[in-house]
Symmetry: C2
Subunit: 638 residues, 2 copies
Amino acid sequence: MDGPTTGGPTVPRATVVLRTPLPFDAVTLDPGSFLGRWQSLNRDATLPHVLRQLEDAGTIENFRRLVVPSEAPHRGFNFVDSDVYKTLEALAWEAGRLPADQPWEGVTRELVDLLTAAQRDDGYLHTLYSGDEVFADLRWGHELYVLGHLVQAAVARTRTTGRTDLLDVARRFADLAVARFGEGGQDGYCGHPEVETALVELYRLTGERSYLDLARRQVDLRGSGVLGSGPFPPAYHQDHLPVREVTEVAGHAVRQAYLAAGVADVVAETGDPDLLAYLLRLWDSAQGTSTYVTGGTGSRHKDEAFGDPYELPPDRAYAETCAAIATFQWAWRMLLLTGEGRFADEMERTLYNAIPGSTSVDGTGFLYANPLQVRTGHDGSSEFAPAERLPWFACACCPPNLARLVASLQGYVATRDENGVQLHLYADADVAVGSGVLRVRTEYPWDGRVVVDAGPDGLTEDLALRIPAWADAAAVRLVVDGTVTDVVVERGYARVAGPVRRVELELPMPVVAVAAHPRVDAVRGCVALRRGPVVYCVEQAGLPSGVVLEDLALVPGSPLTAAPPVAGVDALVTVEAVAVHRPATGGPLYRAASAGVVGTASPAPATGRVTLRAVPYHRWGSRGPGAMRVWLPVAEHP
Amino acid sequence: MDGPTTGGPTVPRATVVLRTPLPFDAVTLDPGSFLGRWQSLNRDATLPHVLRQLEDAGTIENFRRLVVPSEAPHRGFNFVDSDVYKTLEALAWEAGRLPADQPWEGVTRELVDLLTAAQRDDGYLHTLYSGDEVFADLRWGHELYVLGHLVQAAVARTRTTGRTDLLDVARRFADLAVARFGEGGQDGYCGHPEVETALVELYRLTGERSYLDLARRQVDLRGSGVLGSGPFPPAYHQDHLPVREVTEVAGHAVRQAYLAAGVADVVAETGDPDLLAYLLRLWDSAQGTSTYVTGGTGSRHKDEAFGDPYELPPDRAYAETCAAIATFQWAWRMLLLTGEGRFADEMERTLYNAIPGSTSVDGTGFLYANPLQVRTGHDGSSEFAPAERLPWFACACCPPNLARLVASLQGYVATRDENGVQLHLYADADVAVGSGVLRVRTEYPWDGRVVVDAGPDGLTEDLALRIPAWADAAAVRLVVDGTVTDVVVERGYARVAGPVRRVELELPMPVVAVAAHPRVDAVRGCVALRRGPVVYCVEQAGLPSGVVLEDLALVPGSPLTAAPPVAGVDALVTVEAVAVHRPATGGPLYRAASAGVVGTASPAPATGRVTLRAVPYHRWGSRGPGAMRVWLPVAEHP
């Protein structure tokens, strides 16, 4: 092992990247900040809950069966081992986040001992497959996928605790994969990308080049069709085209984004220009045609797929939690590669909308799919479109994925380059930058004022502050050491030359009506309300009695204002808007609006106006199940 | 056997129904009429194609395996036997339609001999299951489902040819089902309804009451949960609630409509008022919240389900062909029960839109799902959302279902009651009504003029003519024996008292802009174009070069006119409309339309106007794959 052991999830070795992550312990989020509170909830509620569920669902027991002969059947999908690994990764980041307070070390060691005992002599470790089944079904077997998550857990544990017990397990399995699928071995790759990014990180930690080589080989081979055909189309497995020929996001959204993250890691270590071009094309495709205003991706329930360009229905939005997490991870790697603020913008969008919306206020209820609309009369019996957040899922990939991301959030706040430090995510935090500590003070995302105090000695280097694309650059205010300074935004950042002691940034946060591209048919005539990075929604809960959510339309020209908190909804700022109420329960589904000429139906008569209180999308459903919508119709003839 | 042997698909015995079908040979469709041409295409192209595909897919071979020991595996789903049965039913209706010309009798006999040889001594007949597997999985086994289709084929063959060879096979299997699941037997029903309607028809043909009793018993038991839980939710199998407690359509659309058709048959023979109330509630639910403007139902790809009320996305419309056929069959039974024109209206809507759209102009390409929009850039690789019609499917339920419906279409044209004759579907046809022949002359659906000539002796009974709900009743013109007559519409019909010699009906057919209920979010701001019963669509094919379909919006107030045929599209009448062209390729997916106030984004600049030629929806794709849409945006600021 010759790599750094103090890093977070991503520690590039090569000099390809334009930005370098800070050490994992460099940033401390204030426990009262949005992100800090989320981390506390994750530690105090989500992680204990996840560990309990892993026992109850038999996911940990699956490993015990390998150690102590048992008649009990394997439980869960063939990728269920990864739920344990993602949880171990979360526990490891927790250990690094609060190194003085390690309540999970005992649990972790027990699990590591169990994995060590369960592992075969040749390094193979999977709770379902044995004998001829091993690596027999690359398309659906998920064996390299679970290896990837095992590696990520092991890397995290080593980096935050220095312990190599789990790393030994992971390397034995990874070495087996190298022997089997490495150069000169079988031409194979996994039906579910994920091992690519993990192998690169294992290389970064250990310096063992064969891991990077295997990752690159898997990327190069992908799309050659070796997975064969099955119940899902080739794009589902990211096997429809060689990576270098792909021009659009396609197929299963999580697989697509995990693959892209892995490719970005390969680029970060190899500088491959063709692969970088692929990533940029793919990013533009995702952002330009296939991402919800919340940052969610993968609109289709069927095959958990992206769907066609501009196919973004709010009601049937699948927008799997894991897809948003995968987008975050991909965006982070693009940020490191390019230093461009648009990638941090997307991290922020997912972080305040698509991702937190998947977790209940108490941290123990989860959404797998994250719709942008729930209809009155919604049949919430499906696990994939439930009426409320659920404690667990038959396919429980999302909760432990959330846990590992949230436990490592501080790792994504800032980076550095040869000129200085870049702040990407604004949060109340202390950021150690070598020479000293930057005290970042803000009520973000509820308030756009950010004060960075570098202390009396100041920061000798440059400080780059992200100016989000959602902010009106002309209205941004920047005060450097007491002097109002012109804001020059370059690739998404305002750069303050050091030395500097105190920077005040004001990002104005008016409530904005957001319109979608005209090809997004599903939200024609609607706007979404956004304030700063936070997207809002209106719910049936809170409406006057007798008013059905679907009967409301915003009044054009009426004010959109920030408003105080709402009982039962954990958010500092809500939004007020005025809507006209046009009751339309029942009546014919279709009617002739005009004959012989293009006309439109007159709207139902208005019975009055209603002041709506919109709440952050990420807190929808906090007041119980019921109708919800992000996209609000704008009345045509109010 | 004591039932009539000259009937069509539905021959009620009891006097519950208010309308009685005519004998199957009473109506002869003119070969040049829309429906007559469809029947010819079905006979000349679709049926030979289907027979070939059943061989190529191994569906017929599955039966041979039961007779001659073979190592060849069973091929296809566990309900694939029904494809053979539906084809046999189609062949039987053909035999009754053109009794002097029976090219299929040899093929039919071969198949019947094969089934006879394949049937077990106890009557069981299924190509996949044997031993302990028999009736072991009611939820997914489809055994009673395939029995239902076998019975329907046998009833058709007996009614049109008098032959009982297939009926013997069907009764042996049905008797086994009665013994096993009848009164005092196992409480069981099939996960896919269909046997209910078949058993009632078998009772009607044979007079054997136990078949009706089993059908009623299955309806009564349904929803008691005996199917248990599986990968699909209970509503998928119509097992979520006892039938009498159901208030809304739910679950798998085909199963829902087949069940309703079966319940309607039970009501027709028992008069059960609670079940009739269920049917009327269900109908209102389907028609009021969950049916496409084409008559398609089942909007979700996931679970082929209805989805929530008003969830009717045009692009992801699943709208399975079989669901439209099932709606047609359900509507027909409701028409017989109630005599209300709204049910015939729905038969007509499916017959000119959802159903024919599923078949290519040459009769050998099919759609399983029937979207109302295909996007530019559509990934057409899915069998369930292909870029063009396909020759066959892994789940090939639709093509033979189409074949049996089309071969029996003349059976749905007219009925009688004690007062006289009712005309439901307008088509150029001769209708034998006992005393004589009604010569119906019309260019329907392209022209709304219908002339009924009862000959010099005239019709002594009353003649009821359906006045479709799409027609402006005030503008309908009725001339009875040369005298212009007031049109009084009662329950959907204008009744002309006999005796009468000649009736001229004029249903004006302006091009109408149809608007959807405001809760159908997916088509907000759009209209669909309809002329008479025919819904139109606009396709990329035929647009000027450089104009992308998605960049067009109709100009409010501009004329909608009927227009002549379009090359490559088999339709007598097309529709012209004027659209504004606003190119919007690329650009951001979301943008702030306004800050602090409700505003909407300005549309992209217009580059000019385009005259669109809309073609009947049912002929979309005739000019090759490409973008298509039924719902057209209306420009806001043209």
